[in-house]
Amino acid sequence: MIKVCAVADLPEGEAVRVDLEVPIAVFNVAGDYYAIDDTCTHQDASLADGYLEDDCTVECPLHASCFDLRTGEPTGLPAKEPVRTHSVMVEDGVIFVVPRQG
């Protein structure tokens, strides 16, 4: 379990990148938190820098690939491979992520 940031530091509609060996992006969608691999599976770009859409997807800022934050599945070209999803926990006002192994 890895500390991400304080709840207050991740407002709604925002994202934060956790710089791990494989970086993870954590999103706040209307008070719900989602974590996925930060690097787009199409080309090297950070999804935490992308656009969070109303339908719980994030659009890659580089080539507009979209990923469903709940499943990690791509919902639009050019990405064809999913990103991994990770569990998020909130404790005492602090957001934690549990990186999926493998």
């Binding site: 770009a45 992308g50 339908d55 800022p61 070209l77």
Partner: protein, 414 residues
């Protein structure tokens, strides 16, 4: 509507076919493309594919779920005409029976503009353009280490190929008729930043001089004594200089593939309806004919960023606009688009730097660096017209760039 023909099988055509199914169209869906290849991605052709880091399979735009779309592929077939018939349309093909349909998506894209050849002579061997996979395979084979490449045209295609060719150990000279390479899309000030980058990396950049003609010569590798001077050996410039060349890459823009629509009644975007300026469409992709929409590189519409009718050839336009055109064709409300759809956007990778650009630059727009430093090639620049942001350029600053891009979408929302 029972049968829809999508004419064009690249990104825009494939995206239109997917969007039609996503919008609930259950009739016959025929996709006609003049290239034999399955739909493939073009941006890597000047970058990773040309450099040999990607192969043909890496370019595929197909995904497994495409099989569920029940598309009737007609690849390797070239549309030659569009005719009204029985309240619907006929798509005429070069080497096959016409296709009858009652809805048409025109997505025939554009092709590379060629240098004019001397009267009575064909194109010289060694002269390349880059638009298709076959073009890229031919150019990749020609860019051997120590080859001398002359790039005619300092736009993005020329600049990206120059960058990749340097990486391959090729000697590169880039010739641009304007005073500064990339000044057209980026403006003098920031175009110059990229021009300087090319010089730093070893490209010889010659600007402000037009090409007079290509120099024909004998192919040293050709059959002995064939006597034909059908291979390019150099480029003559208008000021009298001659640049020796083994390979010439011509990157001087594109021409929309609209000739096949002559006589169809489809109106073009030229001042007198000429199709040479692309198919005139509304923002939603409607043409002047009922049941006919157009999308992607072959279509032109009024841009609030440019303040005029523009035929955008941006990849993201070919990805996103077809969903609007599909809805228009089916008479459905416009689907939800991403937060930045509608803002012209493109990127370019050169020398390991990633350029992103959104909006539209006009001569006279005022540039302000809002983040970073131009000299370190890590910055965001905003272009303003009468004080209002109209475009943003970023290098190595995706987050800040992304905020400005979204801001442009918000500011310019209809």
């Amino acid at each position: 509507m029972d049968t829809i023909a999508v004419v064009g099988a690249s990104l825009a055509g494939l995206s239109a076919a997917r969007a039609l199914r996503a919008a609930g169209f259950e009739g016959r869906l025929i996709v006609i493309g003049d290239e034999k290849h399955d739909p493939y991605d073009r941006p890597p052709l000047s970058k990773d594919f040309l450099a040999g880091r990607q192969e043909v399979a890496d370019l595929s735009l197909s995904i497994p779920s495409d099989a569920d779309l029940k598309l009737e592929w007609r690849l390797g077939e070239c549309a030659t005409g569009l005719r009204a018939r029985d309240g619907g349309y006929l798509i005429e093909l070069a080497d096959a029976e016409p296709v009858a349909c009652d809805g048409v998506v025109i997505a025939t894209g554009a092709r590379a503009r060629q240098l004019p050849t001397a009267a009575g002579s064909g194109p010289l061997r060694g002269v390349h353009t880059l638009r298709t996979l076959d073009d890229a395979l031919a150019l990749r084979a020609a860019l051997v280490p120590s080859a001398r490449l002359v790039v005619v045209g300092g736009g993005f295609i020329g600049a990206e190929i120059a960058s990749t060719a340097m990486e391959l150990g090729v000697h590169v000279t880039l010739v641009e008729v304007a005073p500064t390479a990339l000044a057209g899309p980026l403006g003098e000030e920031l175009g110059a930043v990229f021009a300087a980058l090319h010089v730093t990396r070893g490209v010889e950049v010659l600007t402000g001089v037009p090409v007079a003609s290509l120099v024909p010569g004998d192919d040293p590798d050709g059959a002995a004594g064939d006597g034909g001077a059908d291979k390019v050996v150099g480029v003559w410039l208008a000021d009298g200089r001659e640049l020796p060349a083994d390979v010439v890459l011509v990157g001087i823009g594109s021409i929309p593939n609209t000739e096949w629509l002559a006589g169809s009644g489809v109106v073009g975007a030229g001042p007198n309806g000429e199709l040479s300026a692309g198919v005139a469409i509304t923002e939603g992709g409607a043409t002047n004919l009922p049941g006919v929409v157009a999308t992607g590189d072959c279509a032109a519409t009024h841009s609030r960023f440019a303040g005029r009718v523009v035929r955008y050839e941006h990849w993201t336009n070919a990805l996103q606009h077809p969903a609007l055109a599909a809805a228009t064709l089916l008479g459905l409300p416009a689907p939800r688009q991403s937060a930045t759809a509608g803002v012209p956007y493109f990127w370019s990778d050169q020398y390991g730097l990633r350029l992103q650009f959104a909006g539209h630059y006009h001569q006279g727009d005022v540039v302000e660096i809002v983040e970073g430093d131009v000299s370190t090639h890590n910055f965001v620049a905003v272009y303003r017209r009468e004080g209002r942001p109209v475009a943003v350029l970023g290098i190595g600053q995706p987050k800040v760039f992304g905020r400005w891009r979204k801001q442009l979408a918000t500011d310019n929302a209809l």
